[in-house]
């Protein structure tokens, strides 16, 4: 080996060859550890050095960490050092260990003939290479220093490259993950759109989460109206009972909540199943679902990104689940509406149509229902003695219950018609049956009468119904037909019902009505139509036919209430002929 000082380059072709080989080796390498290890071993072997180390500088924390150490058994790789290095020290190519400004703690080495070499690229300082004394303990010669510098520069460049590569690789993997998450979201949103099966949606959601987040424990709790239930789960040791489900739902936040010790203590089920986070999902600020997840199988903690993905996916699923409930409700509603419209046509079938004509009288009758089905009732029928019977009734309440009772009333009336008993007795029987068959808050106001056309006599019983108004031909005042007894179904018959006869004369007018007429509301004044307005209407139309009088009154009620009828409305009008 040529020991003479040659400042124009490397000492020997051997040194040059080493530098070239190293550069070839390192240019391809992406492995930081390999690069640093190679640098140390090559220098230690080439220069016969038994102690060497590499410190890498982190510009963010401004600390040095010991990346590689050989021959320093008391120092572990990975140790961090807070060292104040001066700006000029970072610019020097090398500096002696003993120069009064030690770069690193003396304990690492303070032996003579040790050197720090700067690991640098053209702009940046990346750390120091420490070489202990050579075996012969002589100072490093100039050509040796240049040799080390040459290798350091190449190694540092390779180090920077590999870090950059690793960083890029990490970024690329992250990007790949994001793309995969987006694909999952896209895939599932397509799938959810096609599904109306809640159970299936929940299951697909479960699988996507298990796969994407790499978890095994999962549950989904969903709240529909007031019912909170477990829609899907995986990997649980026990399924939560209803109380636990409700507790988890109410204890969770609207956002991501990491389970802490306090929560675990209050929710033994959560602890037992090793749930680590609860995620609340809200629609229009109302919590509708809570998702629980266990830790990731490879123990890597969840990142904000993971939770964002989870929330996006959960939102998709929850909206689709909500859609299935809405759909069911709509189907139920449509079915109900269909049934109601059938009920309405059945109910309409119970009313006489067309309105039969009564010998010796003009007659008109009509019911206008405010709902699909109602509780108003009227009837006109022939009695066995050849006379006509007519009836008007109003069942308390509205809708289906009222309609059922009204149908019951109708059948009783027709059953009793051929029975040879008095009007009063028949009313009594109806009362007893209704009283027995219905709850005490259900009752019927009822007026019925028989028109004995030969003698123009009206025989009636009024069981608590709005008294029909009788307007005599030659009078402007009304008589009220209010004799009879209690309304039907309220009490067991105590006092017998009373039947009364009224003599009619030609053109006497009788108007029977239900409370839908006199209680029709003025939309602004909140005032009822009332019997006074009804009487005025009757007087106004008295000379017309019964059908025209009926239409006139209905028109007046409708315009008074601005067409908003809140109750059923029935009118039955009779006028004695000449």
């Amino acid at each position: 080996m040529n020991n003479s000082d040659n400042s124009n380059g490397f000492q020997s072709s051997f040194e040059l060859k080493t530098v070239l080989e190293t550069s070839r080796l390192l240019v391809e390498s992406r492995d930081t550890s390999f690069i640093l290890n190679n640098l140390l071993l090559m220098l230690m072997g080439r220069l016969l050095v038994s102690k060497a180390a590499i410190f890498v500088y982190d510009p963010v924390s401004e600390k040095y960490s010991l990346k590689k150490a050989k021959g320093f058994p008391e120092h572990s790789e990975g140790n961090e050092y807070e060292v104040i290095t001066h700006a000029e020290q970072k610019k020097l190519s090398h500096l002696p260990v003993r120069d009064g400004q030690n770069v690193f703690p003396e304990s690492l080495t303070d032996e003579e003939n040790s050197l720090y070499f700067n690991l640098r690229t053209s702009n940046n300082h990346h750390g120091f290479l420490l070489l202990g004394p050579k075996a012969n303990n002589k100072p490093y010669e100039k050509h040796e220093i240049e040799f080390v510098e040459g290798l350091s520069i190449i190694s540092t460049a390779a180090l920077v490259n590999s870090e950059l590569f690793n960083e890029l690789n990490k970024t690329y993997r992250n990007l790949d993950r994001r793309i995969h998450e987006l694909n999952t979201l896209f895939d599932l949103s397509k799938e959810f759109n096609l599904l109306v099966d809640r159970e299936k949606i929940s299951r697909i959601f479960k699988f996507a989460l298990l796969g994407q987040l790499f978890i095994r424990k999962f549950f989904l709790i969903y709240k529909n109206q007031d019912e909170i239930s477990l829609l899907a789960s995986s990997g649980l040791s026990t399924e939560p009972d209803a109380g636990q489900i409700e507790q988890i739902f109410s204890d969770s936040d609207q956002e991501v909540m990491l389970i802490d010790d306090e929560f675990r203590q209050n929710n033994p089920w959560v602890q037992e199943n090793e749930i680590v986070a609860l995620i609340g999902i809200s629609i229009q600020n109302e919590k509708v679902a809570v998702i629980g997840v266990g830790e990731r199988v490879n123990k890597i903690p969840f990142s904000e990104n993971d939770f964002n993905f989870l929330k996006s996916l959960a939102n998709l699923a929850v909206i689709s689940i909500q859609k299935t409930y809405f759909l069911e409700e709509r189907i139920d509603k449509e079915r109900m509406e269909e049934e109601l419209s059938i009920a309405k046509s059945i109910q309409e079938g119970l009313l006489p149509d067309p309105i039969p004509q009564i010998p010796g009288a003009d007659l008109a009758a009509k019911t206008i229902s405010s709902r699909e089905v109602g509780g108003d009732y009227f009837d006109i029928a022939e009695s066995p003695d050849g006379n006509s019977i007519f009836a008007i009734a109003d069942v308390t309440g509205k809708g289906v219950p009222a309609a059922l009772l009204m149908a019951n009333m109708q059948s009783m009336l027709h059953l009793l018609l051929p029975v040879d008993i008095s009007f009063a007795e028949a009313t009594e029987r109806i009362n007893s049956i209704i009283f027995k068959n219905t709850p005490p808050d259900k009752f019927i106001t009822f007026f019925w009468a028989k028109y004995l056309s030969d003698h123009k006599i009206l025989r009636y019983v009024n069981a608590g119904h709005n008294p029909p108004l009788l307007l005599r031909h030659n009078s402007d005042t009304f008589e009220e037909l209010d004799k009879g007894g209690l309304l039907l179904g309220a009490l067991e018959t105590i006092a017998p019902y009373e039947q009364s006869d009224v003599q009619l004369n030609p053109n006497d007018l009788l108007v029977c009505y239900t409370d839908g007429v006199d209680e029709a509301m003025h939309p602004i004044d909140q005032e009822e139509f009332g019997t006074d307005r009804l009487r005025k209407s009757i007087l106004k139309y008295r000379d017309k036919s019964c059908a025209e009088i009926l239409d006139g009154i209905v028109q007046d009620v409708k315009s008074f209430s601005n067409n908003r009828l809140t109750d059923d409305l029935t009118l039955l009008i009779l006028k004695a002929c000449e």
Binding site: H180, L188, A208, N298
Partner: protein, 118 residues
């Protein structure tokens, strides 16, 4: 209907599932049904061969997550083989190699099962 098929065969006393086509949210439940059936009949030494699988979505991976514990708890395992690069990348991306044995070829999985069960 999407293109996805599962073929079930027996080899050396092991259950081999050949997946074909695309395993995604839509088809994941088919795989679930097959796995459930195997577990219910105590057939727990399962190899899933991905040779003809073109695409896998997260929901597909989720099925493996949902049943691996069940299979292992009855003394079996699910081993995965013959993935193309695209499919393997998804498994790798989400961390699956730490939990599952993934082999380049089916016979490696068979050897592993036989060695482990000896």
């Amino acid at each position: 209907m999407k293109n996805f098929k599962i073929n079930h065969r027996n080899k050396s006393g092991l259950e081999v599932l050949d997946l074909q086509g695309e395993l995604d949210a839509h088809t994941a439940s088919q795989l679930e049904d097959v796995l459930k059936n195997l577990i219910n009949s105590n057939k727990s030494n399962i190899i899933v061969n991905f040779k003809d699988l073109d695409y896998i979505a997260s929901a597909g991976l989720g099925v493996f997550m949902a049943y691996i514990e069940d299979v292992r708890s009855i003394g079996g395992d699910i081993k995965l083989t013959n993935m193309n690069d695209k499919v393997y990348n998804v498994f790798d991306l989400l961390g699956f190699p730490t939990l599952y044995d993934i082999f380049e070829d089916e016979h490696h999985a068979i050897d592993k099962f036989i060695n482990d069960n000896e």
